[in-house]
Each structure stands twice: as structure tokens, then as C-alpha cells.
Subunit: 124 residues, 10 copies
């Protein structure tokens, strides 16, 4: 039982930096605490990005998500903070994060935020 939740994300070098390609990672097991009531919240996180020099390592992403398990956070704030962490870590060409929260009080909420590198333009 030695593994621990951690906010330390790890990277590995992009194996094909000459090509714009997309990595999509879906994590249906995100849970945090409601900052108002202290009770658990649940969400599916959907991450899509075009890597530049680095890719996020999947195990560290799993452990990073785990680190929110006993922390409070508002939906809109959390989604933007996780995106900010990824932008700082990866400096990706393009990145979008969607947080699809479980129903509360008969209401379903989804937050979607994205970021594009100022140094990059999509080639078409």
C-alpha cells in the first residue's frame, strides 16, 4: 500500500514532434468534494491535446486525478485549474478539457475549456 496520490505529473518526449496528431484520454473515475457541503462529487474528465515536445505520462495522470479525492473545488474552478496545470506542464499546441459532472438536484453540468499555443497554427 505504498503508492500515494500526488499532484506531480510526469512527461515523456513526444515520439513524433514533426506531426500534429491528437491524444485523447477519458477518465470516468474523477472524484472530489463539494466545497459547500463537503460531500463527494463525481465526474468524467475528457482530455484531448496535440502534443508539442512532451506527452503526459498516463500513470502520473491517474495519480494526479487521485490527489483531488479529498479536496474541495467548484466545478468551473477545478476544470480551469486542471487545464492550467496541463498547459504549464506540456506547453501543448492545442488542448481541451471537458468535465462531465454527475447529476445533482436533477441538474447535469458539463464544463469545457481549451487553450491553444500562440506559437502554433493548424495547417489545412
Amino acid at each position: 500500500m505504498s503508492k500515494q496520490a500526488s499532484k506531480e505529473l510526469e512527461v515523456f518526449p513526444n515520439p513524433k514532434p514533426s506531426r500534429d496528431y491528437t491524444i485523447y484520454i477519458e477518465s470516468p473515475e474523477f472524484t472530489c468534494l463539494c466545497p459547500k457541503t463537503g460531500q463527494p462529487d463525481f465526474a468524467t474528465l475528457k482530455l484531448e491535446y496535440i502534443p508539442d515536445a512532451f506527452c503526459v505520462e498516463l500513470k502520473s495522470w491517474k495519480i494526479y486525478l487521485w490527489s483531488y479525492r479529498n479536496e474541495g473545488g467548484f466545478h468551473e474552478d477545478l476544470t480551469n485549474k486542471i487545464l492550467d496545470d496541463l498547459v504549464e506542464l506540456l506547453n501543448p499546441r492545442y488542448i481541451r478539457l471537458t468535465a462531465d459532472f454527475n447529476v445533482r438536484g436533477g441538474i447535469y453540468t458539463t464544463i469545457t475549456a481549451e487553450h491553444q499555443s500562440p506559437d502554433w497554427t493548424r495547417k489545412d
Copy 2:
């Protein structure tokens, strides 16, 4: 049993006003009365917006929807009025409201209205 339906919507400050991001809120429990027959109507409301300075508070949204429970209203009129209330409250960069009404007489009706702030343009 002290809580009450109310048309008073509440806001909270947008935690990330520097970024254009999207909030989607689905409410499958909207009900009002048919202005012709007085009998109950049911709809799912789907709200999507890009906040500017403010976000709508979810509990107040739920109580706001509740306030229509014993009021009459035509489909097209209601959808536009609720959108108007949100535009006045939030002054959002972009907002769209879809009202998906339950079948009546073998006919399914959906109304979709949107509004964009004249001060804002989508960056691509």
C-alpha cells in the same frame, strides 16, 4: 418545508474570466402549465453559455425553474423569456437555450434560442 420557488437567480464571479470556456447545464425536470388547457406540460431545458464576469448559481437555477411549476406559458414565449432573464442576469459572451418538450398529440416540439454579446467575438 421552508424552501420556496422563486424567480430570483443568483450569480457568482467567473473564476477564469481571461478564458473563453463553456458551461453546459441540462435540467430534465422542467414543468409548467399549458395556457390553453391548464394541464401540465413537461420539458428538458439545455443551457450552454460562455460566461463573462458572472456564472449562474446552480441552486438558484433549480429554484427559478421550479417557479414555473404553476404558471402557464406557450413553448416559444417561455423559451425566449428564460433566455432574456439569463442574458439580463449574466450578460454572457454567448448563450443558447434549448427547450425539448414532451410529446403532445403525437407531436414533439423543441425550441432553440441563442444570444451573443455585441462586445465579444469568438477567437479562432
Copy 3:
């Protein structure tokens, strides 16, 4: 706007009392109030019965369900009371009522109750 909610259910004579056959009626638009918080609850009611001398008239069933719109009631209690009303009204050979309530606090609840006439046995 002269129609009104009412607990008065109406019947019509079973057109084929010599045969055991089944009538299934699904009503996805049931709503009442939570007796603890006063806020709206929503459910789908699924009724299945084998009529004896009488069948329930559908318009009166719709108006009967409407009569719960502004009344409080616990899930288990409501389901059993509606079944009792139908048993008293119809004295059916067999009847089953399922109330499938909308999610609250991440929890989905369904109540199922049935009744069989002591004078009747299924022929196989």
C-alpha cells in the same frame, strides 16, 4: 382553462371479461413534492393489471396523477396508496404498480407493489 386536477378516477366496463388479458399503462410525467424539503420530485409510473369487471379510464388516470402535483409524499407511501386506490376502484384480478423516481443525491429509487384478488387464480 376549466379542467382541474382531481382524485376522482373513472372506470368503464371490461369489454372482454371472459378472458384474462393485461393492460399496461406507462406515465412518465408524475410529479409530487418531497415531504421533507417541499421541492419537486419526479417519477415514471408503470401500471400493469388484469381487469375483472372494470378498466380505469385513461383521461381520469391522467387527471388523478395531476392531483399529486402540489402534494407531499414519501416514495414508499405514495406507491402503496396509489395501488390501494386502484384496487378499491377496479377490484382487478391482478395489479402491479412500479414507481421509478428520478435520481436524488446520486441515488436512484424504484418502488414496486402488487396485489392479487383472492377470488382469482392464474390459469396455466
Copy 4:
């Protein structure tokens, strides 16, 4: 344009009367008139039977259903009458008819009736 709706059902000899086997016929295009309002009603008819000496011919079944197009009929009554017609025509070992009516007033209704020949018992 010489074909016409007709209540005359046709049969053909069961090609394997020595075996109990099942024929299932689903007809999603049944329509009649509501006897109260005169407006169209729609249903899917699901017929399942174990033939004895005869099977129902499919084209005549289609034309038979067509004959209800401009006739009024209550749900419970129609279902039982169509079953009676089939029992008289085929004298089947076992037969069940389900009529799944389109939603009206937010309510879905399904009627199921069956008949078993007194001369026949299922072999298990």
C-alpha cells in the same frame, strides 16, 4: 390502384403440423380512429402463435390491418376482437397478441391478450 382493404383473412396449410413451433409477426403500421375524438390512433401489433392445421397468409394480414384505417375502436376492445378473429380463423394451439399504442396525453398504453386451445398442452 385496384387493391382494397378487407377483413377477409387467408390461410395456408401448416407445412410442419407434427412440430410445435412459433411464428412471430410484428406490424408497426397499424392505425385506426379514436372512437371519442375521431382522430387517428397508431399502434404496433405483435402477434405470436403456434399453428395447428393453418397459418395466416401475410399479405391478407396486411390488408386486414389496413381495413381498420377508417374505423373507430377502443384499445382494449380492438385487441380482443382481432385476437378473436385469429382464433376463429386458425384455431391455433397457442396465440398471443400485443397492441402497443402510441403515446397520448403523456401516457403509453399496451394491451396483451392470449388464447390457448383446450385440445393442446405444451410438451416439456
Copy 5:
């Protein structure tokens, strides 16, 4: 049983003519006769429009569709004629009609036609 099928469509004033918004109406109970064989055809009609001064009244739309019940019509012709009737009635900013016909001879056919007012351009 006094109601009657009729080609007379009714309108009501658009409650929000200052905004371009969309009304979607799905009617799964359209039926007419095949002009070649005289046998019934079935389709789902999907209507989407942006109203200008007027909206189509739903009950009259239902009764209008009913008026095709005993008329023959080719798929492509019917779809265009119904669209023409709506364009003449509503003079809408934009309108699209899709007729999704039931399978015949193992073949599924769908016709889609649209019209845009020459006086109107979509604002983006």
C-alpha cells in the same frame, strides 16, 4: 366525433420576432396512400424553421397532416408540396422539412427540402 381533417393551417404571431430562433416539430404519425398501389405509406415528418412574423399553430398542423390520410402522393412530390404550403403560410426566414418514409421492399427513403427567405441572411 366532430373534429375533421383539414388542409387549413393556422398561425399565431411570433412572440419574439427580434431574435432568430429555431422551432423544431417532429411528427412520427404521418400516413398517406401509395399512388401506385393504393396501399398505406407511413413517414416521420421533421420540420425545423426560423419564424418571421408568424408561427404555425400545432393543432392545425396535426389536423393538416391528418388530411393526407386518404390521399395518394409520391414521396418527392409530397415533401415539396408540404414545404411549399408552409412557405406560403409563414414566409419564414428559414425552413427545412425532412420526410423519413418507412421501409418498402427492403429500401429506406428520406427526402429533405429547405427554403430560405431572400430577405434574410444568417447573422454570425
Copy 6:
């Protein structure tokens, strides 16, 4: 292009005759000709059996089904004949064949026939 359709089914010895177990084979690519019109019919065949001494070899089953490609046959007759062929070939403990035909004239037909060896009883 040397392979040919053939009614010759092949078997292989049941590898576990001491145990009653089930083999289920679904073949969605069955086609024959309508004996009335000469036009193609299509069906999904669903075969389930408990083998005794032999199992049917899958390639020969595929080629056997192929042999019906240019033959006419009524639904009820074909289903019973294919079952008869399998009973004669395998003498299985239990066997059931379901033929799920594609829609014709708005009508879906499914035939189900089964056979049980007189020498065998299910152990429970």
C-alpha cells in the same frame, strides 16, 4: 473461385460428450428467393444446440446456408427443413433454430422451431 455452395454438412466429434453444454451460432447473412415473386429474401439464422456425439463444422454450415441463395422457399417451410437437416445430421440432445426475416410490406416475421432427443432429459 473453386469453392461451391453445397447441402453437404460436415461434423466433428464432440470434444466433451460427458457434459451438457450449449453451442450458439448466429448467421446474419442468409438469403434465399421468395417462391411467389422470385425476388431475394434475407434473414438472420440463430442456431442453439446441446451436442451429443457430434458438432456441426462451421465452414460446412456456411456453405450449406450459401446453397439456399438461388432457391425459393416459404419462411415456415425453410425453417423447419433446415432444423430437420440438423436433427438428422447431429442427433443432438436439444436444438432450436430461429429465422428472423427482413421486413416486407411493413411486416417483420420470425419463425422459431426446436427439437429434443427422446433419449435425453435436462439434469437439474
Copy 7:
């Protein structure tokens, strides 16, 4: 049993040539032979076109598809040839054909080809 498969396609005059509208025809019962093994292949053909002066008659389309039943053909070749036949026949404003072949060797193949009349441009 007089009907026969045939490559002769028939047309009828477009009832509304003044409008660009779309006809979509889905045929899930296409079958031909594999030119390598001689064994049957199966596909769903999805045809979408904007007619100019003529529309394809549905019965002749069905009989045309039937004509491939005992012919060999490679996926890519067949799809382009059928499209060529339709272009020659109809000279449509726009046409697209998708052939969705059944799985072989654990692999699903879909071919999509389209053609646009040089004389026509989409009005937006």
C-alpha cells in the same frame, strides 16, 4: 415468378427541379460474390443525391441491385461503377454513394465515392 434481375434503371421527372433538395435511399440487402473466393459478400448501400431533371425509380433500383447477386466484384471497383451508372443515368447536381461491407477476417470495410455536376454550385 416472372420478375427478373436487371441492370436497366428507370427514371421519373423531378417534381420540383427549381429547388435543390436531397433524396436519401438506404438499401441494406445488397449482396454480390467475392471475385477471389466466389463466396457471397454483403453490404448496405447508402445513396444520397440532389436531382436535376430526373429521379431514380425505386423498384428499378431494387432490381438493379439484385442484378449483382451472382456477379463477382471488388469493393472499391463496384462502388465506383454503381456511382458511374447513376451519374450517367441521372446527371444529378450532387451524388454520394457509400458501401458498408460486412466484416471479413475481423475487418470492416466502407467505401464512399461522390460526384458533383460541373454545371452546379451549392447556393448558401
Copy 8:
């Protein structure tokens, strides 16, 4: 933020003890820790019971499930322990608990346990 996870379950009196009826409660937000790795596990709990004198109160059930959030537990053990707690609390006529765990290592695991009161027999 005063609410706290707790193993204290609460009951309320069965409103209809004279009738055998079923309460079904589905909780898709159960999470605990893997006793081997310390990492989070996720499951959907499906509870079905026929109450005797008492019913479980839903808020306390939610808080009870929350109490497992930071505890380790093997799948088989947890499911049986939660069932034991409910049997001791409610002494129900019949109860079944299903724990449907999220995939790990490409493997999906579901545990189902049930208990029946020795004092009770199902009436049919």
C-alpha cells in the same frame, strides 16, 4: 461543511407492512480503496429488498456509502459485509445486493449476495 461520512444507518417504519413490496436503490457513486495497492476502486451498488418492519433512510445510506471512501476492502468481502449490515439493521423479508466494479486490467467483476428471512416465504 459540517456533514460527515458515517457508518450509522437510519431506518423509518415501513408504511405498508401488510404487503410484500420491493424497494430498489441504485448507487453508481460507490468508491473505496484497493487493499493491495491503496488506489481507488469504483463500483455501482444495486440494492433490492422487501421490507418487514423498517425501511432504510436514503440520506443515511448515502452517508454510509461515503464512509467507505478512504477504507480498503476486497470486492467479495465488502459486498458481504454491507449486506450483513443491512440484514442486521432491517431484518428484511428478502434482500439482494449487487456490486458492479469498474474494469481493472481488462477484467470486469460483479458480486451478488442475497439473504432471506427464515420467518418469511414468498406467497404465490
Copy 9:
């Protein structure tokens, strides 16, 4: 990269041997080689059992399935052999294994085998 495929299955003691309860394990990633062609075959294995003294350890089950990756085996034979291995290992009260193989030549095959301990009878 030290882990290795292995036919050595491991067990752990049943935590609740006093109760008959069910463990269901679904493994959609089973692959072996076709003994005729040497090419890969794929299946989903569905295992359901009521444990007696022991349960199968999930990691060893995963590694056991891995051991078939480069071995040939006929569908019917493999399913029975894996069941035999589990019966010998666990001596369960009841066990059922279903192997749902991927489509080959347009044909889907599923094998289901079960075993019950002679010392055990289901209590109802």
C-alpha cells in the same frame, strides 16, 4: 518486463462460505490461435460461479488467460478445458463459463458450459 504468462491459477479463501453468493468476471481480451489456420482468434470470456472454500485470484486469472495467446485451440474444446481447470482448482458449488467468439466468415459462435457440485443444492 519480468511478468510472464502462466497456467498457474491462484486462489484465496472465500470470505463468506456460509452464504451462497455469486461472483461474475467478464474478460473481453481473450485471444488464442486458430488450430486450422494458425491465425489469431478473439473472444470475450464470461465466468460466473458460487464459491465454496476458495475464490480465484483475479491477477492470476488474467495471466492464465494470457497463456493461451500463442496456443491453438478449437472453440468447443477450449471452453470445456478452461471450465475443467476452474472446477479442479475451486471445486465451486456452481460454475458457468461462456466464450463469445468474434465473427468469422459472417458467423458468430458462443459456447456455454456449466458444472454443479454433486454435494450442493440450491436453497430456495
Copy 10:
């Protein structure tokens, strides 16, 4: 058992090089080894391309995928390498490869890479 996995892909001449059309090939049976743990990984490969002079032969594509069965490879690297092989082989006008990997540790990963010939531009 003479067939063997091989990285040798074969081509055939494009039967319609004068037209830009699309070939889509879905292969749900891709498996390789995780380079970290040596354990099997599984993915569905989705390939879409517009051929120039050549098309990839399907049997050789199947055998090519088979060649990865006992090789290790990171998700991002493998996807780009397979795309590179196809670009070198076919020099297609456009090509896109999506690798949809099975869930690991509660996380689903999909990689999408594409390539366009510098000599080609889409005609619209």
C-alpha cells in the same frame, strides 16, 4: 498452419484514380504487448484514406497487424509508425489512422494521426 504474421504489406492498383473517394477499414482485433510490463494491450484501429495510385490489400493488412502480436510498443509511437508505413507504401492523397486502446487503470486512450500528400488539394 502454414500462414505467418508479416510486416510485408501488399497493394493493388486503384480502380478509379480519376476520382477522390474514401476507403475506411476498421480492425477491432489489434493486440500488442505493453513495453513496460510485457502484458498484452488491445486496440481497435480505424484507417481512412483517399487512394492515389494504390490501395492496400486487405489480407496483407490483417497479417501486418498480426505481426505486432508479440512486439512491445507505446501507444503514441505505434500509431505514428503504422501511419508512416502506410504513407510510404501507398503515398495516398490523404490518410488518417485512429488507435482506440482498451481501458487500463480506469483510463481510455485514443491516438489519431493523419497525413496529406503535398501534391494534392481537396476540391470543393
